[in-house]
Symmetry: D2
C-alpha cells in the first residue's frame, strides 16, 4: 500500500443507472478497492471515448448491459500498489487496459466480458485488476495519449495486419476521420504503406494529408469514391479497406478493392444499405471482421508506436468532472481523432 | 523426335466451332506440332471435364471464347519429345497441365489465358508447351486419374489452405458430390481434418462416408443444413466451408461457420439467391475466393497425394471418340466424382 | 470452499532442501492455501517427471534454484474452489498447468519463473493459481495421462510447428524414446507426417513402430544414422529433426536434414561433441530452439489430442508416497514414454 | 524482328576460356541468336558484378563451371524481339534476369543452372530467353541501376523476409558495405526497420548513415562489435543479422542477436574461423541460409522499390570494352555499393 491510498480512502466513479440519456451517468463516491494476492491497483489517469460508449448510453449496444455499470472500455493509469506474488508490474509502472481483457493471443476465449459493457470500465479513479489484463504504455506518451489506444488503435493495427499481410508499398483506403481511421493512417505510414482517405470537408482533408494520407477524396462531393480510389491506384485497386462504415459504405469499398485483397470489416456506423450479392464478393474481395485484438497485438503495436514515436491525435481533453460534456461532444460528430477524459 | 511421331504425323483434336450445342464439337485431323527450342511435346493420354466446360459449350462462360477452340482445361500425358535446352523434363516423363498456366506462385499474373477457354485446351492428342506449364504427376496414378487433378483437386487443396490455415482436428463442410467437393473430402482426411458433407441421396451419402466424411446431411430433406452442420460441431460451427454452390447456398453456409472462420468461395453452380446483408458477414465469417491455384500449389498437393497414395474418384471413362457422350453425361448431373476421357 | 477442503485442512508436499541427492526431497505437511479473489484452488491429481527434474536434484540446472522448492513442472488436477470474479473455470473442471506459466502467446515475457525450478512446482496436493495459468485437459484423458502434457508434449508440438510449417507427407526424424520423442511421433501421425525414429534396441524399435514410426534405425549398430535416415527418404533428406540429443547428435542430424529444412533444437541430453563449422550450417539446415511453448500452443495441441483421442504413453505410475522411486526410475533410463506420480 | 537486329547481325560477348586470371576473359564476336516460338530477345544494356564472379575467375566456386562460359549472373536490358505466342512482354519492355532462373516461387527446383556459372550469363550484348525467366524493372531505374538487383538486392530482400517476419521497429545488423549489405540498409528503411551497420572506416560510416543506418560500428577498432551492437539495443539484441561474413564473423553475430531471432546466413567472404558449439546456437539464435530468391520475391521487391523510388548505390560504371577493369576494381575491395558494366 502506498501513501496515495492511505491519504485517500474513497474515489469517484461514474455509473450508468439506466440507459436512455447521458444524464443517467451518475458521479458516485465509493471505497477504493484493496489489492489482494496477484492483483494490482491502478490509479486511472485518463480514459477515452468510442462510438460504442454512446451506443451503450442509448441501449443501442448488442447484448445485455449490467445495471450501474462504470462505462468506457479505454483507460490508462499508474500502478500504485501491487499484491503478493506480482512480477509483471511494479509500483510506478504506466499501463493501459487491454480492450478484450483475457484475450492474450491465439483464439479469443468466449468468457471475456469487455470493459464498459459487460464489466466495469475505466470512468473511475481506481481499478483493481489481474496484472495480465494490462499492458505497458509507450514511454513517450502522456496518459491522455495512451488512453486512446486500447480500442481504436488496436483495431486499426489489426485491420492492417492479419492472415493476409500487407507489404510496404501497398495502398490502404480509410473512411472518414474517426479514431480507428486516423490511427489506421498513422500506423500505415509507419509500415511503409500508402494511404487514400475519404472525408467530408476540405478542412479535414488537410488534416488527413498532414497525417500522411497521400490522397484524399471528399465522399460528399464524390459519391462514387470507391471507383475514384481505384482509379487513384492506376486501376489496380487498393490492397485493404479499413471498413468502418458498414452497410452504407461497403458497396463503394467493394469498388475500390483490388481482386483477392481484403476488406477489414469494423464498421457499425451505418445501419442500413443495399444488400450484397454473392457475385459482389466472388472474385472480388476477401472479407474479415476485426474484433479489436489480443494483448499480443496490443504489445506488438506498442513496440512500433514507441520506436517511431507515434503521437495519437487527441481532439480534446475534458476534465473528469465534465465527462458528460465529452459524451455530448462525441455525439456532435464534429471532432477529429480521439476525445479524452483526464482523471488527474 | 521419337518413333511415336515418326510413325504418325497427324493427330486428332476436338474444336468448338460455335457455342450453343455439344454437337458443335468437331473432331478434326491436323498436323502434330513440332517442338522448338525450350519446348516439350506431350502425348495427351487423358483429359477430364468440369462444369466450366459445359458453360463454354453454351456460351455461358464469362469472357469471350475464341472460335475453333480446343476445349478442356484438364489433361495429362507423356513427354514424347523435348526441344533444345530443356532440363525440367525428359522423354517419358508423366505430366499434367497447370490450370492457371503461368501462375507459378506469388501473385497471379494478369496475362494468363486459361486452357480450354482463352487458349487451346486438352481435348487433343498432342500438345506443344513450355515445360514450365506442366507438373510431374504422382507415380501411383494412371493418366486417367491424373487428368482429374488440375482444376478440381487444386481448387479443393487451396480451399483447405490459404492465409488462414486449418489445423488437424478442425471441421470442414463440403457441399454435394462434384469433383471439388469429393477431392476436398479426400484431401481433408489426409490433413487430419473432420468432414461434414451434404448430399441429396442416401446412396451418395454412403459413398461420401466411404471417402471419409464423418457426417452427411441430406440437403433435400434438411433445408436448414447449415444450422444442422453447426449443431453437429457441438454448436461451435465449422472451420471452413468449401462453398461450391453460390448464391443459393451461401446463406446456409453462413449458418454453419464458426465466427472468424472462412467461407472459401468457389461456386457458380447456382445463379440466384437472396442477397447478403452486411451484418450477415460482420462478426460471422471471413470470405475468400478460390481461383484454382498456382503451380506451387499443384506441386505441394501432388507431394501429399503421392505420399498418401490418394486415389481420385473417377466416375467413368469415355473413349476419345465418344467425348461428346462425356459432355452429355456431365449435363445429366448423375455422376459422382470426375468424368474422364481416355486418349489412348 | 468445498467439502474436500473442510474435511482436510492440511496437505502434503515434497520440498527439495538442498541439491545433491534424491534423498533431499522431503515430504512435508503444510496448510492448504486458501483462494482469494481471481484465484482457483487445484487438487493436484497427478504429476510427471522430465529430465530437467533430475538435473534440478543434482544442481545441474542453469540458473539459481530457490531453497525448499516444490519440484516438478508438470501436473494436472481438479478445480476444487474458485475465488470471486473467476469466469475461466468452475469447480469440477479438469486442468493442467502451462509450463511457461504467463506465456500466453506472442513474445515470451521475460518475468516468467517456471514451475519446479524458479517457482514452486506440482509435487504437492493442492495449488492456488491465477486461472489464466491453467488449461482445460482433453476429456478422454485420465489425470495421469494429462499430467504428461505440459513439458514434453507441448515441446514436441512446437518442434512440429513454428515459422516454417510442415506439410502432410513431410518426414520427421525423432531421436530415442524419451517423452518428447514419443509425443513427436504420435503428434506427427495426427498431422499426416511420416516418421523415421532412432533407438537403441529392437524391443524399443517395435514399440516405436507400433506408435506409427514408419522406419526405425538402431543408432548403436548404425552410428551413421543421419546418413541412413537421408537414404530412407530417397536421398532427399528429412524435413524436420526433433533434436533432443544435443552436441553429440547434431552432426548426424545435419546429415539427415534436407537443405532449407529445420533442426528443432531441444536437447541437452548430451553435453559434449565436435563443434560445428559455419559451412555445416550454411546451405544445409535452418535451426530454431524450442522453449516449450505458450498457452495458445498448449490449447491448440489439446484440441487435436482430444479430437483424435491421442493416448499419451505412460510408462509407469508411482504413488505420491513413492515419488523418490519415480526419480530413481527416471535415472535408470530404462523407461519408454512418461513417468507419472499419482496424487490420488 | 526489329530494325536493331537487321542492321547488326553480330554481337560481342566475353567468354571465360580457363580459370586462373581475369585475362582469360576473351571478347568474342558471335551471331545474335534468333528468337523462336515462346522466346524473347533481350538487348543487354547493363550488367553488374558480385563476389561470386571473381571466385569464378579463380576457379574458387563450388561446382564445375563449363568452359567458354559467358560470365555474370546479373543483367538488365530491353526486349527487342518476341517470338510467337509470347504474352508476358512486348518489344520495348525493360527487364532484368532472375538470378535463380526457373525458381518462380514455392520450393526451388533442383534443375536450375544459374547464369554466369552453370549457364551463360549477362556479359554479352544479346540474350535469347524464355520470358518467364525475366522480370519487369522499376520504371524509375536506369538500366545500370536495374542491373544491380538480381543477386544482391533479392538476397537482401529475402534476408529481411522469410518464415520469421520482421516488424516495423525491429533492428537489423548489417556487416560492411558490399552490395547485399547496402541494399539491406536501404530496404530495411523502406520496411520501417532500424539499422545498425558495421564498417572499417569513418568515411564509409558516413555513407552508411546517409543511407539510413541509425548507428554504425567500426569493426576494426571495435573487435567485439557484436556485443556493442547488442548494447545499442538496450541489451535486448538485434532482431536479424544479415550475415554476409561467414566463419570469421558468425561469433560476433551470435553475440548481437536477441534470443529467438534469426541470423540470415549469406556469407562466404571469409573462409576460416572458430567453430560453433551446440550451446552457441541453442537458446540463442535461429539460423537460415539465403539462396538469393525466387521470381516472386524479385517481383515483390520491385513493387516496393518502385513505390518508394529506391535508388541502388552504383559505385562506378565501366564501359563494356573495359569489363576486365571492373573485375580488377572488384578485386581491390575499395568500392561502396555495386560495380556496373554499361553495354550501351
Amino acid at each position: 500500500m502506498t501513501a496515495d491510498q492511505n491519504s485517500n480512502k474513497t474515489m469517484r466513479s461514474y455509473r450508468l443507472k439506466d440507459t436512455g440519456s447521458i444524464d443517467n451517468l451518475n458521479l458516485v463516491t465509493e471505497d477504493i478497492p484493496s489489492v489482494q494476492r496477484g492483483e494490482v491497483l491502478v490509479r486511472v489517469k485518463a480514459s477515452a471515448l468510442n462510438y460504442r460508449d454512446l451506443a451503450m448510453i442509448y441501449g443501442d449496444y448488442p447484448g445485455e448491459i449490467h445495471n450501474n455499470l462504470i462505462p468506457l472500455s479505454d483507460g490508462a493509469g499508474e500502478i500504485v500498489a501491487v499484491g503478493e506474488g506480482v512480477r509483471r508490474f511494479q509500483v510506478g509502472d504506466r499501463v493501459a487496459g487491454n480492450f478484450t481483457r483475457e484475450w492474450f493471443g491465439g483464439k479469443r476465449p468466449d468468457y471475456i466480458e469487455p470493459y464498459g459493457s459487460h464489466s466495469d470500465g475505466w470512468l473511475t479513479e481506481y481499478k483493481v485488476l489481474n496484472p495480465e489484463l494490462l499492458v505497458s504504455i509507450p514511454s513517450h506518451l502522456t496518459y491522455e495519449q495512451a488512453a486512446t489506444l486500447p480500442c481504436a488503435a488496436v483495431t486499426a493495427w489489426n485491420a492492417l495486419h492479419g492472415p493476409q499481410p500487407l507489404s510496404a508499398g501497398d495502398t490502404v483506403l480509410t473512411l472518414g476521420s474517426g479514431g480507428v481511421s486516423v490511427f489506421a493512417i498513422q500506423l500505415a505510414k509507419l509500415l511503409g504503406l500508402n494511404v487514400i482517405a475519404t472525408t467530408s470537408s476540405d478542412r479535414k482533408a488537410e488534416k488527413l494529408k498532414a497525417l500522411g494520407a497521400e490522397k484524399v477524396i471528399n465522399y460528399k462531393t464524390t459519391p462514387n469514391w470507391g471507383e475514384v480510389a481505384k482509379d487513384l491506384t492506376d486501376g489496380r485497386g487498393v490492397n485493404r479497406v479499413v471498413e468502418v462504415g458498414g452497410p452504407a459504405t461497403i458497396h463503394q469499398s467493394l469498388q475500390a478493392i483490388a481482386p483477392g485483397n481484403e476488406l477489414a470489416l469494423i464498421g457499425v456506423l451505418t445501419k442500413t444499405g443495399d444488400k450484397i450479392g454473392y457475385f459482389d464478393l466472388f472474385g472480388k474481395a476477401s472479407t474479415r471482421t476485426i474484433g479489436v485484438g489480443s494483448r499480443s497485438d496490443f504489445e506488438a503495436m506498442n513496440r512500433v508506436i514507441e520506436d517511431k514515436a507515434l503521437a495519437p491525435v487527441v481532439d480534446s481533453v475534458f476534465p473528469f468532472e465534465e465527462a458528460k460534456k465529452a459524451y455530448e461532444y462525441l455525439e456532435s460528430q464534429t471532432f477529429f481523432g480521439k476525445i479524452v477524459i483526464s482523471h488527474q
